[in-house]
């Protein structure tokens, strides 16, 4: 029988009133790759953070190598030879690769950066990483930083590797490379846990799959017995038939046109490249893509929060028929043009709302400047707050309770409610159902559909392909900052979209090579 490397028994973890992990048990053997599969917010990362000593379970036990382990700190985790590669890299920017790799190591004696660098070089050569051990982290690209994280864990001789969504930031080629390294490590007897929500990766890489759903453990299956269908069912609970109503679009006219929009970030990396599309009134335009493919920048560019390197964003005013170029206008200038653009950003508390303020004060965010004089007018926002609480069934002690204290679903209702209350002509929503329960999600879908029905041009950035296909009239697929195609929601299949998310059509790749 295979020897268990790690066993979790009845692990429970709560944050305040939220139960992130509930009674979870699972086992990883030596020389095995286990995938932990689950949607966003299903508690995968929390669970693994308890193995790496970041959190401590409220209940339950962890066994390492058959003995009960107490992992109070990341240091303890190292002692048990558990190494975790976090989604958000744990690297010190101003230090070099070598310094980061040896950070916290004590049993190597006197500090010798040269010697350590040589060992890093060996590891690099063994696995084919290309990295300069003396390079500073702040000079590196995202995938280079991930490489450093992996080297760090290997350097420490970890026997159990945990990778949190490692492919989210990688190109397909880099992903293949990573997977072959992971297989090599498995074959040399190491245990690997990979957290992911991508079915394809699960099936191609892992030996076993453990599925979590909303913090609960659903079960573990052998990968060879699993199919995308069966895993999906475990992940979402039942056969994915969402039954989102989709009315026929009507009175469609061009509302917003982007032509050759390009955006570079602060580091000078091109995030969006020649993006062109048109959003129409009375339809929902979906945007699909791997996380971090430029969705955030695209919406922010439209909202006036990103400087455009080139291209134009033209708004067609439904009342006057005038065309307004929104390029390089600030959010206020856009509003002053009479453009009713609403935007539900991905980062709800960090951008869309002010966590420490109550619902009333959050209602004012968009409109506080209105009204005469230098003082705020809280009456209308208060009425709006009461209305949203009632109509969207927001659970809150009152309109003055800081929104930070509400649950994720209620926070989102407040945000979407406010943005819709501005009676927008264009409504953009980034991952509006992320982390929400089913009921709240449907509330949001219905709100979006209602907006579509009254002639708003809705732009919906989603991650769940089933939702995109059932909700959206057209789906724009974005891949590495470029549009790989726009498909019809009614006829598109998940496979098509999935392919387009990871591959640009050949015409564009050729263009790329030519440059």
């Amino acid at each position: 029988m295979a020897e268990a490397a790690i066993e979790l028994r009845n692990i429970t973890k709560r944050f305040g009133s939220v139960t992130a992990n509930k009674n979870i048990s699972m086992t990883v053997n030596k020389g095995e790759i286990l995938s932990i599969l689950g949607e966003n917010g299903s508690g995968k990362t929390t669970l693994m953070n308890m193995l790496s000593g970041i959190y401590h379970p409220d209940e339950g036990q962890i066994f390492v190598g058959g003995k009960e382990a107490s992992i109070q700190s990341p240091k303890d985790a190292f002692d048990y030879k558990i190494g975790m590669i976090h989604q958000h890299f744990k690297l010190v920017d101003i230090l070099t690769v070598t310094e980061n790799v040896i950070l916290g190591l004590k049993d190597e004696g006197k500090l010798s950066l040269k010697k350590s660098a040589a060992r890093i070089k060996e590891i690099c050569d063994m696995y084919g990483f290309k990295i300069d051990p003396m390079k500073k982290i702040y000079e590196m690209s995202v995938s280079e930083k991930q490489t450093v994280e992996i080297i760090k864990v290997i350097y420490r001789g970890a026997e159990i590797l945990i990778l949190d969504e490692p492919t989210a930031v990688l190109t397909p080629k880099e992903t293949d490379n990573l997977f072959s390294i992971l297989r090599n490590m498995r074959d040399s007897g190491k245990s690997i846990i990979i957290i992911t929500h991508k079915l394809g990766e699960v099936l191609s890489l892992s030996d076993k799959v453990a599925v979590l759903r909303k913090g609960e453990y659903i079960g573990t299956v052998e990968t060879k017995d699993a199919t995308e269908q069966s895993l999906t069912e475990m992940m979402v609970g039942k056969k994915v038939s969402l039954n989102i109503e989709r009315a026929e679009p009507h009175d469609c006219e061009n509302r917003l046109s982007l032509t050759n929009v390009s955006v570079t970030n602060k580091e000078g990396v091109q995030i969006l490249k020649n993006v062109s599309f048109t959003a129409k009134s009375g339809e929902i335009l979906g945007i699909a893509g791997i996380a971090g493919s430029g969705q955030k920048e695209l919406l922010e560019a439209i909202a006036g929060l990103q400087h455009l390197k080139s291209g134009s964003i033209v708004y067609y005013d439904p009342k006057t028929g005038k065309e307004e170029n929104l390029r390089d206008k600030t959010p206020l200038q856009i509003r002053d043009l009479g453009v009713r653009l609403s935007f539900v950003p991905e980062d709800r508390l960090g951008m869309g709302l002010v966590g420490s303020m109550g619902i009333t004060d959050n209602m004012m965010l968009r409109s506080y400047k209105g009204g005469k004089g230098m003082f705020l007018h809280r009456k209308d926002p208060k009425t709006l707050a009461d209305k949203i609480i009632k109509e969207l069934e927001v659970v809150t002690p009152g309109t003055d309770t800081p929104v930070r204290k509400l649950s994720g679903g209620n926070i989102q209702k407040v945000l979407v409610g406010r943005e819709i209350a501005a009676s927008p002509t264009v409504l953009m929503a980034a991952y509006p159902v992320r982390g929400l329960d089913i009921n709240s999600s449907y509330t949001i879908y219905n709100l979006l559909n209602a907006q579509k029905d009254i002639g708003t041009a809705v732009i919906f950035v989603g991650e769940d392909l089933d939702v995109l296909i059932e909700l959206c009239d057209r789906i724009l697929v974005i891949c590495h900052g470029q549009i790989s195609g726009i498909v019809d929601g009614k006829s598109a299949t998940k496979e098509d979209i999935g392919m387009m998310m990871t591959n640009l059509p050949e015409s564009k790749t050729a263009e790329e090579d030519a440059q």
């Binding site: 305040g16 009133s17 401590h56 036990q61 390492v64 190598g65 003995k67 009960e68 382990a69 107490s70 109070q72 303890d76 002692d79 048990y80 030879k81 909202a303 006036g304 929060l305 600030t330 959010p331 206020l332 200038q333 509003r335 935007f343 950003p345 980062d347 508390l349 960090g350 951008m351 869309g352 709302l353 002010v354 966590g355 420490s356 303020m357 004060d361 004012m364 965010l365 968009r366 506080y368 400047k369 230098m374 003082f375 705020l376 204290k405």
Partner: protein, 367 residues
């Protein structure tokens, strides 16, 4: 492999997500009582037991309220501290660490004196008005400089405002020597013009009224004005501010102008209302103490009336005891320091809760 015995930490700390208003006020009240008790003990130690524990408090009350004059001084000192604390509130609300109140008040005081020196023949309300404007403008300028560099290039405002204090102090010293009454004195003679008159027959009456009005206005500004709202949004999240189109840089500079201007006002009142001269220690460290006063009041100007009174009371009360016992009045700083430590510590129990975990796994398994 090194394997540790299974153990659980005895104490864990978690952020409080909800605390009842009653409990939070209870903790605060308890901390004030505790602070007062500690002060009593410390004073006994400092005076080597020359006065008894209970006498400490009667002496303190006597020192702060014993005579009409003492009451007046207590109120005056409370207001002087309050004015600076109120001035700092908007900046702190914006999470801009303005620790330059001392310097901003000093340049305000200096500006008033310069006005008087430049206009020796003028007198009356007009002179006072010009002094007022000059002080407020000077304080604002002293606030705008670090504000501008924070907004433009993200220069660390804590360190910047700290340095500006000493630039201001040296500037004041320069003028103090320039105007010294006799060579080598280093102190200027008191001004004969530009003095705020009594109000309702009370010295410092104007200062007190002006500061109370500013306090209330500041409360209204922070809570009910559009600009106050912008400050709160910028302080909470610059991203949100950007998202709704607030010009963050403008708000930073504007708020620092206001913060500095109010400090300048405090400087004006010190010159025109109280001391009628400028010297480098005229603010007397209140610019720093005010930071703590404002922080303990959770940046609420109305509550600052209480916190600044509390600190002034300890200060004056201890000074009284020190003088009775023939000791120097640095004892006040010691006592105020101790009280601040205790109240700062109590904030922890409002923001976090301490969970005592049942020690040992065995007990759990036995269940």
């Amino acid at each position: 492999m090194k394997v540790k015995a299974a153990k659980e930490p005895l104490v864990r700390i978690a952020k409080r997500t909800d605390i009842s208003t009653g409990l939070s006020y209870g903790i605060r009240a308890a901390s004030v009582v505790l602070a007062l008790l500690a002060c009593g003990i410390v004073v006994m130690l400092l005076t080597s037991g020359k006065i008894s524990f209970l006498e400490v408090y009667t002496e303190m009350l006597e020192g702060a309220f014993g005579t009409a004059r003492r009451v007046k001084i207590t109120v005056r000192d409370t207001c002087a501290l309050l004015c600076l604390a109120v001035a700092l509130a908007p900046a702190f609300k914006m999470r801009f660490w303005n620790i330059g109140a001392e310097g901003q008040a000093l340049v305000g005081a200096l500006a008033s004196c310069i006005v008087v020196k430049l206009m020796p023949d003028m007198n009356g309300a007009l002179l006072i008005l010009i002094m007022f404007i000059a002080s407020v403008a000077a304080g604002a300028l002293w606030g705008i400089i670090p504000g501008f560099f924070k907004a433009a290039i993200k220069a660390n405002e804590t360190l910047f405002t700290l340095m500006m204090n000493y630039v201001a102090i040296q500037l004041v010293k320069f003028f103090a020597v320039l105007w010294e009454k006799q060579k080598g004195a280093g102190v200027m003679s008191t001004l004969t013009t530009g003095k705020l008159p009594q109000l309702f027959g009370v010295d410092y009456g104007w200062s007190i009224v002006i500061i109370l009005v500013v306090t209330v206005l500041s409360y209204i500004y922070m809570k009910y004005s559009k600009q106050g709202y912008e400050i709160a949004v910028v302080g909470e999240s610059e991203n949100t501010a950007r998202y709704i189109g607030i010009n963050v840089k403008k708000v930073i500079i504007r708020t620092m102008a206001i913060s500095g201007a109010l400090c300048g006002l405090a400087g004006f009142l010190l010159v025109s209302g109280t001391h009628h001269l400028v010297k480098s220690d005229i603010v007397g460290g209140n610019g720093f103490t005010a930071i703590i006063v404002a922080w303990l009041a959770h940046l609420n100007p109305l509550i600052m009336m209480l916190t600044s009174f509390f600190v002034s009371f300890l200060d004056i009360g201890t000074a009284k005891i020190a003088s009775t016992c023939n000791l120097n009045d640095f004892a006040s700083d010691v006592v105020v320091g101790i009280a601040l430590f205790i109240i700062l510590a109590s904030e922890f129990f409002i923001n976090y809760k301490v969970i005592f975990t049942k020690s040992g796994k065995k007990a759990k398994e036995g269940k």
